[in-house]
Structure formats: C-alpha cells, structure tokens
Amino acid sequence: MRTITTDVLIVGSGGAGLRAAAAAADGGAKALIVCKGKVNRSGSTLLAGANVSADVMCDGRSMASMGIGIGDENDSKEKFYKDIILEGVWLNDRGLVKQYVENAPTVIREIVENNKNLHPKGDDREIGIPGSTIIDTYYKMIRERNVDVVEDSSLLDLLKASDGTVAGALFLDLIHGEIFAVNAKATVLATGGMHNCYSFTSGTTGLVGEGQAAAIRAGAEMIDMEMVTFCPGVITHPMKWRGSILPYIIHTNDQFRLKNADGEEFMAKHLPQSAVDLALHSEWNKMLLCYAMHKEVNQEGKGDAYGGVTFDLEFKDEEDEQAFLDHYPFLKTGTCNEMFRYIKDHGGIPVYGAAHYFDGGIFVDPSFATSLEGLFAAGECTGGTFGSNRVSAATTQMLVQGLEAGKSAAAYAAGAELKAFCPVCLEKAEKDALRPFEEGKEDPRKLKKKINEIVSAGAGVVRDEKGMTEALAALEAQDLSAYGVTVDTRAYNRSWMDWLESRSMLTCSKAILASSLMRKESRGVFIRSDYFYTDNDEYLVSTRYKDGRVRLEPVDQADVPVPAGRLGYIENIEDVIKRLSYS
C-alpha cells in the first residue's frame, strides 16, 4: 500500500486544520494536510456567516487595540471569560475557555493584518467577515510554509503502532478509489461537525463526523456529545437554496417575523414575553427560536408544506427597506439579492431549525491532546469549550485551537520517532473499508436516510426519554452488513462513500443518543420535555462517552458563581442572562 510519511498529519482543512498546519510548520515539523474536499474551500468555515458575514470574536479591549475602529476599552478578558461560562450554563471546561480568551486577539490580529483592504463591520467584541476570507488568510499561511496537501481524500480509520500510539491514518482517495496510508509522528483531527447525521443541516455534504467516529473506534474519550446547536433561520425551500442560513444572518429585531402555515406569528404562544424578548434581542436566539418553531410544528401541527415555518420581513415604508439594505449591502447583488426578492415576492421564505454546530466532540486538554497518545484534535470536532451552549464565535474557537494543537503536535513530534503501524490494525482497517464490496446488496443511501430520520426524530431540538430510547434501539438494530456497493468500480463510487459515511454516522449518532439519555435535565441547547428544568444539584457534569459507555464527570466550577438547586429551563436562562456583563 502507498504510504506517505510526515511529522504531523492534519486531517481536515477548515479554519482549525489550516491554522494547525501552519503552527506545526512554525514548530519545525513537516506538516501534511489530508482533506475530503478542496483544501481552501470546504467545511463549515467556508459557509460561516453564509459566506457574507461570519463573526470572529475576542474581548472588547483587545479588539479596540486592533486599530479598526471597533472595540470597547471598558471590556476585559476576565469579563469575556465569565460571559462564555455563563453562556455555556456553567458546563464549560475552564482551561479551554481560558485558552480561547487568551489567544483570541492573536488570531484576530492575523486576520486584520492579512486583510489590509478589509474594513470589517462589527461591534464591541466582534468583526464580521466572509468565511472564505478567513480561509484565504490561512491558506496563504500554509502555502508560505510549504505545507503538503492531499485533497479529495477521506479519513477511513486512525492507525496505531503496536504500543497503542496513534501513528497516522488510513485514507481513501475518493476520486480514484485508492486506499493509502499516512505514517506520522503526531496526528491532528480537525474534521468539523457531525451535521449530516441529521436530515436537515446547514453544513457541507462532507461533514458526517468521520473524525469523531474514527476517534471513537480507536478508543478515544468524547465529551458532551448530546449538545447540538440548531440554527433557526435555515431555508427549506426552494430546493436550490435548501440549507442556506441567509435568513438567520439578516434576522433583525424590527423587520423580521416568523409565521406558521396560517400566517400567524407564534412566538408568544410558546414562550413567556420575557423569553420572546430574549429570543429577539439577544444572541440566545438560536435555541429559543428553535424551541418555539419546534412546538408550533410538532405540537400545534401548524408547519408548512416543507415541515417548517415562514420567515418574513416587514418594512414600514420604502425608507425602512432602504435602510435595511444599506445595513446588509450583500443583499443588493447576486444570489443574496435573489433570496431577498423571493422573500418580498412570496410573502416570506420557508425555514426551519437545522443541525448547525456541535458543542460536544472529542475530549481534549488545553494543549489539545486527546485521550490517545499521539492524537490531537482542534475546532468543532472537539467538545467542552462552550459547555451546553455556544454564543461566542466558533470561528475564533477553530483558529485558537488549531494554533495550539499544531504547536503541541509539532513539539510532540520533535520528541517522538516514527512508529511502524501495527500490521493487524492496518490490515483490519483496510478490510473494514472494503466490506461493502464483499457483503450486502442494499443501497447504503437507504441506510443514510434511515439514520437521518431516526436521529432527527430522537435527538432533535426537544427530546424525551421514550423518543431517545427508541431512537437508540433503532440505531442498534441497523445492520451495516446488509448494505453494499451498487457498482463494482472503485473510482468515484458514491455507494462506497455512502457506506463509509453511514458507518461513521451510526457511531456518532449512538454516542449522541447514549449521552443524551444520561442527562436528565434541560440546559443550554439541550432541551427535554420530560425534564424541563436546569438542575444544578445533579447535572453540573459533562458526559464522557468511551467504548460505548457513558459516565458523568463533575465540571470544575471555578471562577463563576453558580446558584444551587433546580430552576425551570426558561427561568434559568433569564437568570443567567441577568448575570452577563453585556445584558
């Protein structure tokens, strides 16, 4: 088998992968990125902020020092740190939050300095720039550092040496169908979220949690897998725009309306007025809007033909509309303009909550080492930073974590030797990947759809014991060996890809559901109808999933006071919001 050797292998090329590769090269390592798509055009990073305006954040005082006319001298890293922990409803790993807050100004400065012509809009703590601009910044960095790149190749499995150290990984060149190995002293996973475990998502098609699944198969520990953020303003129809979050990006307090199939606004039906205000006027809108939409569609049965609701814009007069367009100038041209016109001409556009961001993932320490020797991870495929709810920027997360993980991996590689793969492990990984050529006959596309349905129903916006138990049982009942390729060629074989993706989806989905079942409360983005309260006596814990089992680990409650006892889910959010420095 063709085997490439390197010091540091980076899997994935979103912001986390690119930043990690540059940092590894700066640390003196020979770095290689292997990625599923195009190295500078893939993953959530590309679509961040609908690729028109993604927020990147640091504390306001540091932002003020960037010299771009944005920031807040009265803010501080301490305040930013505490706010992130409150937003995460006390579940955040304090070490990861500290690392985030400390390093956020560094990456913002990199972006500002590399984009002299960019005049980012923003406010006290954030700038807004297109996702592709972030990628271009770091793509330039890896090219300047001669990082090697292999594109269109998908991670199949991590490969260990005989002593159990991760010694690289096995990949499939999706275009030509060749299986190859990368032998590395250190490996960094930066494979993004598990979006396509769900039927409706805002992510690219390649995001199925294959990094997380490979880590789980290799015995890594996962954290908070139950925490999934849904985005409320994602287009369901027309089909060509399905998955676009543009409505969410332009949802502003005054002009936007959410309506059910009968044209009625419904927020006030499902949320007390104070929560409606929160949903409309605060960054906590994602979960509150999704909750209200979920109730309207699933409980009241007032969903539209596409299973969601209508996002509409209402302007007082032409001047109001013009001011809106001036505020969002990207709406004046191209596809964004077409979408805007569609909303105006059709009395709104169908939207619903889509699986959008994964707060949980691979467990890492603040050096971004995982629980496996030789394996590091960064960005959205990790968990713990944002606890049960992310309000602050994931873009910042991927960059600060990529930076640190690349540094750590290079330092590790400098002190390590290249270890040969354990032969049994290599043979098994290759044989497993080829199973669909030997086993079942059913089209794996059907299995993907089945998993999507099960996960969307059982681990959606609002969950309960019965639904989750049934979903987990349904996942356990799926038999991969019944499925196989629909054509015998190895070259660009979609059914082979579907089989491989199904395998990862099953692994990740089971972890999501098993972890969800252990949390008998509601907190942050995790909402249960049967435990509709936040329980600070029992559940200031993270879930840890490993080898098919979940344990609860107390989260060290440093630095930010937490009230004891139970509080209703909404009341708790109201209470938390009052404690924020910016509320």
């Binding site: 599923k36 798509g37 195009k38 055009r41 893939s42 993953g43 590309l46 679509l47 609908a50 690729n51 996702g131 592709s132 594109e151 269109d152 998908s154 999706l174 275009i175 030509h176 690219t204 098609t205 390649g206 129809h237 027309p238 089909m239 060509k240 725009w241 399905r242 998955g243 676009s244 596809t335 089209d443 596309r445 629909t486 054509v487 060629t489 070259a491 660009y492 074989n493 979609r494 059914s495 890809m497």
Partner: protein, 97 residues
C-alpha cells in the same frame, strides 16, 4: 411540476432520463433525484459540496456551457449534461481542478 428530459454523458455513452422537476431545483438537485429514484450507479461530484456556489467543485457542462451544478437552476425542458473537462474519471466526475 414538469417532466424534463435529461441526457447525461456517462462513461459508456449518453443515457436519457425523464425527471419530474419543480420550480427552484438546481442541476445538482436534478442529479440527486436521478441518483435517488432512477439510477444509483451515476457518478457526479457530491462528496464535499457546499450547495451554495462557494466551493467551485460541482462544475458540469449544461447544454454546452460549463457552470456550477448547484448554481444553475433547471428551468430548461431538456438538459444535456456532460463532463466539464476531457479528463474524465467516471461519468460526470473529472480530475479535480
């Protein structure tokens, strides 16, 4: 809703499909529908697709003109879909740019 004729240049030669389309479908959606409902042997770019004209990976020749499959709305009554370059790997998938 209308039924359109889609001729696809496969590695073995042209193959014709009749596809029911609705307003607002892209060429990518049409290909997806063919794969789902009629022919699960068809190869077209899909493995890390943005669907939003941002990655530039879904190039295909539509009625003679190279464009992005996700960005071209399928409004024609007849679509002829061919690989966008001569370096074909399988069906509509070419060596990546």
């Amino acid at each position: 809703m209308k039924t359109i004729k889609v001729c696809i240049k496969r590695s073995e030669g042209f193959k014709e499909y009749m596809v029911e389309t609705e307003e607002g479908m892209s060429v990518m959606d049409v290909l997806e529908r063919i794969y789902d409902e009629q022919d699960n042997t068809l190869a077209f770019f899909r493995h890390e697709a943005c669907h939003q004209e941002a990655c530039g990976k879904c190039l295909v020749r539509v009625n003679g003109k190279v464009c992005l499959a996700c960005g071209h709305e399928a409004v024609e009554d007849e679509l002829v879909l061919e690989p966008w370059s001569d370096r074909v790997v399988r069906d509509l998938v070419c060596e990546q740019p």
